[in-house]
Subunit: 260 residues, 2 copies
Amino acid sequence: MTRTFALTIAYDGTDFAGWQVQPGQETIQGTLQSAIKKSTGHDVNVTGSGRTDAGVHALGQVASCRFANWTASPLALLKAINSRLPETVVVVSVQDAPTDFHAIRDAIGKRYRYQIQVRHQRDPFEHRYRWRLRRDVDVAAMIKAAAKVIGHRDFSSFESAGAARKTSVRHVRDCQVIVADDYRTTGHLAIEVEANGFLYNMVRNIVGTLVEVGYGKQPPEWVDHVLDRQDRTLAGQAAPPQGLFLKEVYYQPGFQPQSC
Amino acid sequence: MTRTFALTIAYDGTDFAGWQVQPGQETIQGTLQSAIKKSTGHDVNVTGSGRTDAGVHALGQVASCRFANWTASPLALLKAINSRLPETVVVVSVQDAPTDFHAIRDAIGKRYRYQIQVRHQRDPFEHRYRWRLRRDVDVAAMIKAAAKVIGHRDFSSFESAGAARKTSVRHVRDCQVIVADDYRTTGHLAIEVEANGFLYNMVRNIVGTLVEVGYGKQPPEWVDHVLDRQDRTLAGQAAPPQGLFLKEVYYQPGFQPQSC
């Protein structure tokens, strides 16, 4: 009997060449498939809700996979896979899903978190997980600019080249700048963006644009202008990968994989 | 004219074979000396306040080094060295020191921090910096046990083999269990120990012993017994290196290198 499972996965993407299997490269998908093979003997395809790029992390990536023949519990599967994974990848939960559950096709939204550290000097303990800004930023201006990203509209100004999508219209439900309680000492900021879907590099392009505003190079209203023109060359440079975390993936009512 | 500098250094020791130069291995001392050579042309010996083991980190390691001939400012030296260091090592400050300043000989005390995470499941983002305990611990019992470590006494029960010191008497000025505000969700604990000097592996042996108490295998009073007997075989196993941070080094009044 075929059983479909939903896996929730967290990983530190620093030392991986992204999610998707590539010959001769360490990838998250390849690492998971190999751990399943070693621990259960099954050759399965692990379908992620989306491909994260090299260096990008996940707190709650969701993947679906089908076993032609697995009779033990989801918990037994979780333990088996985790026993063969490196310290940098962990399966947080495994759940029985509807047989036709598909992690990409059924996703109705995602939330990303992008972590920043405003700090003149390097920090050996944060460089894997934060983009370091060497100069002070105007946080109030960034908060204003972030609010302008929210809405149902064409986001082609925030889409990096190389992707071909039917439409570049998306609904950004939330975009906020989160200032850490200890911001004055740590310089920790985060930008969280939630949408029904994302264009290629969209979060990193939004973050790069908000940082331009933070640096005072552009006023918050500039974000409206950039969006209206639908021209990628206007927006800020893409923020680097190490600050980005896929935080949560949302599904149709009726089946929601457990989050981290 | 010979000038002596005091360097304060922070590093993520995960990918290093410890502080001390060893042929064919990446070490912190070797990395610093090579960065100084590349950026200034000077061959100098960087003397650390103590050798940290493989996988051990530092927030405020202090080192001394002498330049036969350096006419620029300490800040210029700091920038030069940092320009040639990897992301995992950073010189936090460089100061002019008395000519005869010596980072080992002049040290009168140190403070270490040991980080723990009480969590059933692996955490891909903390495994480099915390010892994970898979079972709950009795934090109140650990706090009681930690207080018993404080004092001026023989600590040979907490000294790992391989070291030859004149005396195993040390003065532990402080030993405390720090419970994170968000302990209930993160499971983050830290143990900080300050003393006039440390025996080999002393902090890791103290932490291993406090965790035995936390697990309820021994009562807090057991620490007194272990110390009184001066027998290494009685104490708990040494905690693993990745939780340990050299936090601060103290010097004679008159010259104190800037801390992080």
